[in-house]
Symmetry: C2
């Protein structure tokens, strides 16, 4: 057994059996090993940023790491922007990066680079394996590191001769390090705050907007009157009819400040204290009011869901019935504007158990609020602010959750960073309906420019335009194998969305804004 | 004057007046400053890898740095793969990377990352400016660093408050550090080797396949009988009728070994000793024969063109007439195969003074050899092996050399990494004819797979396919604003290439392989 076979064998033994791959020559023995490791599913991508975005989406939906396969330093480099987002999503992921053979790299061939240094900013764990016999063990360590709560990026660098060398051994899988639990004193301190009658927010991070953590938080809220908030950037939120209501902290600083003004106490659950997305010469970066007391129930590296359970118990809220969202249906449309009609249409048409990926930036700002009472679904957003994650995330989520429909709302500017993801969606016939809001401008930047400069000049404004030429997203999508339509009226959009979902195959709807 | 204005003002004063930009909120004051710095030309790109590829192409054609503008760590991350190539091309480039305001970054907002660490692997010079009053000076230092021979990557990190802050000062421009010159002893040692009658190769790196360096090398070759070689990866070669002949070292290891077998002496001019692109379990990485003596005339950081001049003088070759390539015309086509016909068609149709960018990988292997006797032109290749540089390089070259026609030969796999470059070509109406060889497979990897494994399995082979779905490159190009045709016969290709060149506007020719 060569090193490559032992690595793939160890990964699947550890439950890591999806690989988003863009290999090259130095990884060719890992590719070759696929036929002797049939349980490893290889998903081809045309650009590495698609792989990390998809592995992120996969991890958000399963809690389990996928692996990626990249070609040397440049391949890893192309993956970094969405790796940044994955770091911020706190998901598990195992990156396999090929390197030159150990005897070849010191010769400094054209593709040599300092892979270790490239990996470091976005890896919580990393290793470079020198020998075939160590690859299995390092692979097992990578998986355990990735699974350490709340989810970590692990990067394993594999020289070609470690992959092709003999002596590979499939390693024993071991459990990730147990997360520390907040001590009883901290639980009691927070419980006493929740009993003092002050207006209190619980800010849910580190995967507590889903699963057992969310349920515990909802019981606490029902018992104490605390409000449940999520940071503007969260990995996944279970929401819709029959689910607890978690309010997202607004992106626009003034709105967030207004939203948080009432709170005198804020309890952080694996979430950072709320700050604005960007600093400003005109406003403070801090979103909470000056007299809001901020305490931490649990850090992201601690067992946050467990801490919420402990807290619920301390409050006597174990059996409290959480307040759940009712199903809502759209009001009669009072508008003939296409853009204004979309939230209501989505509210109506979101299928049960859908996965919604939202990277619609300015055009889609009303979507999340309007769909609170839709059929139950998961909502995934960009966690790190590096745009170009939407369709990759949708690809990974669709692979993670077969049979569940995926809706992806994209800004045109964001979409263009990783449009190659459509090809993978087509290759795998994934049931993803992508809505592209084509306003043909980096609209959020024009807003920022107008806020920064009282009277921005034409050259600055022009630098933020996405036309001319106006990209034809229908033709673009079709060229990559994904059927597409353009919706120019509310009725056309509703028809396209319904058909797109029913088709159970990738499709794109261009919405000219 | 704010910091942003002082930075742009300093850059244009230093002769850096083209900016390939993909800014975000933290760079909005630099965007705003464009209207008060009309000499700075901002070129929009939809993905950062396009920017670094274009800045590379610009630098290869002018010898002068362009600047780039990126949004925080993720924006810089997206630029790195082509920055790797630019490092290997040894071109000057100034990257401007926005950062959060200095008071905001410690709050660890979602877009925060260790920008300095991300920049380091591919920057020879870098700085993070804290105050508006230092931005001009740091900008001038960045330009001087970039211009230090043979050309370096300089990265300047600009916090938003340094950009918006008052007190900016346009800085004095200063000259780059003078390159060391090889001492007389070294020149004499190399000259005596060239007189000893042994079979000798001169390997030309560090921009000596163009300009004065190439002319001096050609005189030396004519005087001594030495052969002129270029590494497989070179930044730019002046070639065609009326130019000296420089032979490129082959990519395929066996071919390169055969090509270099005759040489008993090799003189390196700013070039590394030839090694194979990848290490192999079956072959040595060293391409020269064991008894070939390898000596260095000048390192890349030294004045290589000057060293060649000194060497020519030492050999009495100052006035020697170099041997120059004759104009060749294609023989009557003996083939009806489309792919086989293309080199001859290109030989015939390359316009005088064209710029040819070649990232055609397997499909275009015959192109360079066949066009040795074409009208005089420049040939640019991928220098670092990170694919996805072709069209970006063409965009930068077209901006650098207005009026010169650009031909870009692309593999379909490579093209898909940075296809966003077509949009910039359309936006600026750049005269670039892009030929996409659509073989719908990572063909070079299938060759490597078959070399590595005697009988590769279907899952490995499938992982290297680019279809289904078969990308429609004609529709894709049109969707991005670039007219396109598909050529399926030699005649159709010849017609399309002629019309494409004559049109003096961006166009794409898909060649199904």
């Amino acid at each position: 057994m060569n090193g490559a076979e032992s690595l793939l064998g160890t990964l699947v033994k550890a439950g890591v059996d999806v690989c988003f791959a863009n290999p090259g020559t130095s990884e060719i023995h890992l590719v070759d090993a696929l036929d002797r490791c049939p349980r490893m599913r290889s998903v081809p991508v045309l650009f590495e940023g698609v792989a990390t975005g998809a592995a992120d989406g996969y991890a958000r939906m399963t809690g389990n790491p996928a692996c990626t396969l990249f070609h040397l330093g440049p391949g890893l480099s192309n993956s970094l922007a969405n790796l940044h987002n994955a770091c911020r999503a706190q998901v598990p992921m195992v990156n396999i990066v090929g390197d030159h053979a150990t005897f070849h790299r010191p010769l400094d061939p054209p593709l040599a680079s300092d892979i270790e240094a490239i990996a470091r900013p976005f890896s919580r764990w990393q290793a470079s394996t020198r020998r075939a016999e160590d690859l299995g063990r390092d692979g097992a360590d990578a998986v355990a590191a990735a699974r350490t709560l709340p989810g970590r990026i692990a990067t394993l660098i594999v020289p070609a001769d470690a992959a092709w060398g003999d002596g590979g051994k499939i390693a024993e899988v071991h459990a990730p390090a147990s997360p520390p639990r907040p001590d009883a004193l901290r639980i009691e301190e927070v419980a006493s705050l929740l009993r003092n009658g002050q207006r209190t927010a619980l800010v849910l991070g580190a995967h507590t907007t889903e699963g057992a953590g969310l349920q515990a938080a909802a019981r606490i809220a029902a018992k104490t009157g605390a409000r449940l908030l999520a940071p503007f950037t969260f990995a996944r939120m279970e929401r819709g009819a029959g689910r607890p209501v978690v309010e997202r902290i607004a992106y626009v600083t003034e709105m967030a400040v207004a939203q948080l003004a009432e709170f005198r106490q804020m309890i952080l659950v694996g979430a950072p204290a709320p700050v604005s997305f960007f600093g400003s010469p005109f406003r403070s970066s801090i979103l909470t009011s000056a007299d809001c007391k901020i305490v931490t129930l649990a850090n992201a590296d601690e067992d946050c869901a467990g801490a919420l359970d402990q807290l619920a118990a301390a409050l006597g809220a174990d059996k409290t019935e959480p307040q759940l969202q009712h199903r809502e249906t759209p009001r009669a449309p009072p508008t003939s504007s296409l853009l204004d009609s979309i939230p209501g249409t989505v509210l109506q048409l979101v299928p049960e158990n859908a996965i919604i990926v939202d990277e619609s930036i300015t055009s889609g700002r009303g979507l999340m609020g309007a769909t609170q009472g839709a059929a139950p679904h998961d909502w995934l957003v960009n966690t790190g602010g590096s745009i170009g994650i939407g369709v990759p995330l949708a690809v990974g989520a669709a692979i993670a959750a077969p049979g569940r429909p995926v809706l992806c709302f994209e800004g045109d500017g964001s979409f263009m960073y990783t449009l190659q993801a459509l090809w993978t969606a087509a290759r795998l016939s994934l049931p993803i309906t992508t809505v592209i809001f084509a306003n043909r401008v980096y609209a959020i930047l024009k807003l920022e420019l107008m806020a920064a400069a009282s009277n921005p000049g034409p050259r600055a404004m022009n630098a933020l335009d996405l036309a001319p030429p106006a990209i034809d997203f229908v033709a673009l999508s079709k060229s990559l194998g994904v059927p597409a339509v353009r919706a120019t009226t509310p009725e056309e959009f509703a028809t396209a969305l319904r058909r797109g979902i029913e088709g159970k195959a990738p499709n794109v709807i261009e919405v000219p804004v």
